[in-house]
Symmetry: C2
Subunit: 354 residues, 2 copies
């Protein structure tokens, strides 16, 4: 039952030999695929798509039907937790996510309760179960959540911001209030991810999208500390299989040494750091995932292949590398170019595993 036909992704995360470098892409299921746009149109809106396990399963599997990707990732959103807390998540085209009821006062934070994954977040856990069934052991399934800090940014700001005035005002003026919020979120993420693991998620990714807007000391206190707690509180083996954790702090390249000690198995990297340099800095402590500049997908196939070759070369020999972009696939990228990338990773990485 737990046999995976292609376990290259899990093997790389655990430092076991592989025949080729595994590859998956952040936002591999998404608007760049016409079949996704069809399913999304059928759902009506984005949250209905997320909340309908059959449709979430369908879009999760779409990129795998096109490309020989080495992992599937649950189709969902990092803001399901605050939505389940009653903040009223909604999306306005071109403006990013918004909340009807942002959380800004100690009282509002006091009133928050940890969502029950099998109740308010049941639709996610059901989607995980369904995807595992439909995947039928082809490739592993990645579950995910947003980091407590990143969720707090959205919950306090309530909408996209350039200045982060509300969350940072809270951080500097009322750190204890913010810590209360982060603790409730860490508890929620732990329950949520353990439920995903119990339902069939075979690896976990933590997205710390906004960790990079912090100072080095604030990052450790308000983001990394909670990620550490999550790493130590998740089920790390399920059905006799290890469950690796990948931690991705966008803009966190300056802090790799401390991130590597967080208890995660792998660090996701954006494209602003040389992979070889990152590897030298973290040593053998963790695997690395990344880090092609996604914008290279706007270029011609030969440029994409040469970009892939450079990333593989910068990592060099060794199995603890999962190929990915440094950020998600954008909606205006061509599906054919994704195919070029995936094939290039497999083809060009073989010499590094001989």
């Amino acid at each position: 039952m737990n046999t995976i036909q292609n376990d290259r992704f899990l093997r790389a995360l655990l430092g076991q030999p592989v025949d080729m470098t595994p590859v998956w892409l952040m936002r591999q299921a998404g608007r760049y695929l016409p079949e996704y746009r069809n399913t999304r149109a059928q759902a009506g809106d984005f949250m209905t798509l997320c909340k309908t396990p059959e449709l979430a399963c369908e879009v999760t599997l779409q990129p795998l039907a096109r490309f020989p990707l080495d992992a599937a990732i649950l189709f969902s959103d990092i803001l399901t937790i605050p939505d389940a807390m009653g903040l009223g998540l909604y999306f306005v085209d071109g403006q990013g996510p918004k909340f009807k009821y942002p959380v800004r006062t100690p009282k509002a934070i006091q009133n928050l309760t940890v969502p029950d994954p099998e109740d308010q977040l049941r639709y996610v856990i059901d989607a995980v179960r369904l995807i595992r069934t439909e995947l039928a052991g082809k490739v592993p399934l990645i579950g995910f959540a947003g980091s407590p800090w990143t969720l707090a940014v959205y919950m306090v700001e309530g909408a996209s911001t350039r200045s982060y005035s509300k969350i940072k005002g809270m951080l500097y003026d009322s750190p204890n209030t913010l810590h209360k919020l982060l603790n409730i979120l860490a508890d929620s993420v732990i329950l949520y991810l353990n439920a995903q693991i119990a339902a069939g998620a075979q690896a976990i990714m933590l997205f710390d999208t906004w960790g990079g807007i912090l100072t080095p000391t604030a990052y450790r206190e308000f983001s990394l500390a909670y990620l550490e707690r999550i790493c130590y509180s998740l089920v790390r083996e399920f059905a006799a299989q290890p469950i690796p954790i990948i931690l991705f702090t966008k803009g966190g390249g300056q802090w790799l040494e401390v991130i590597a000690k967080s208890g995660c198995d792998a660090i996701g990297l954006d494209w602003t750091i040389d992979l070889g340099e990152a590897r030298a800095r973290v040593g053998n402590l963790v695997a690395l995932q990344g880090n092609l500049d996604p914008a290279i997908l706007y270029a011609a196939p030969e440029q994409i292949r040469s970009g892939v070759a450079m990333v593989l070369e910068s990592y060099g020999h060794g199995s603890k590398h999962v190929f990915n972009l440094g950020h998600g696939v954008a909606q205006d990228m061509q599906p054919e170019h994704i195919g070029v990338l995936v094939d290039a990773v497999h083809e060009l990485s073989k010499p590094y595993h001989q």
Copy 2:
């Protein structure tokens, strides 16, 4: 004529002893000041404000009348050069700068000409002359320009973007075309800044706002190489006074070692790096400018003072530090808080200069 009453800022950049750490703030003249909003209303729109030397001079001096800042910075915009090239710069509230005629083809780039600073950019040079007269030697005047890469991003994209698809498509697909554009821009920046120096600018700041979106190798090839050329082509001594250059690549904390070798006198830092760590990495090669998280200005005065104390402590003893924010003052910040910051820098830095 060249005597400056308060030359703390220039002394720190040149590594000469100072009594207190000098401080100025990016966007110290701006919308957070009611007197600025009045002058701006009088001008009608932002570009008229920039293009009217008397008004540009007036807003340049406004923050100095309120706070004991150690430098003035020319009030202008980094996009004056592409505007002078005929791209039709305009601003839409809340959407950032836009160009009527973005530059995207080899032919369009071929047709660009280097603006004459004393002709199409005369209004800037006149403003520099007027500000120097009005400053009457109180504090030094900083001139500035955008980096060629940053200007190219705006010129090719034509409007704000999250994906940078057009400029990055050009970078990966047609690097030679992009290099042509960057060369014209480097020539333009050199002429423009040398004219500012001849008109009275006593230090130069180069803003590389978008350098941080590049990979490490692309940063060196498409941004830093041109900044180096500029550093080596500017008048570095005028009227028997050295003209120091500060180079600020937002998000460039990972590349300090190479930036320090660019020929600049100082590196501007955002708040994602510890100043002491940055100092250890660049050694005595350059001065450092920064790097308080601007968002701390949303907090109470005692938090601002404690944030200032932490930045001063992280730099430690030594004169090669100019205090600044890691990014500009935002329009919703309170002027009183700026005053708290400036006073705290002067008061709390004295022990570090004894």
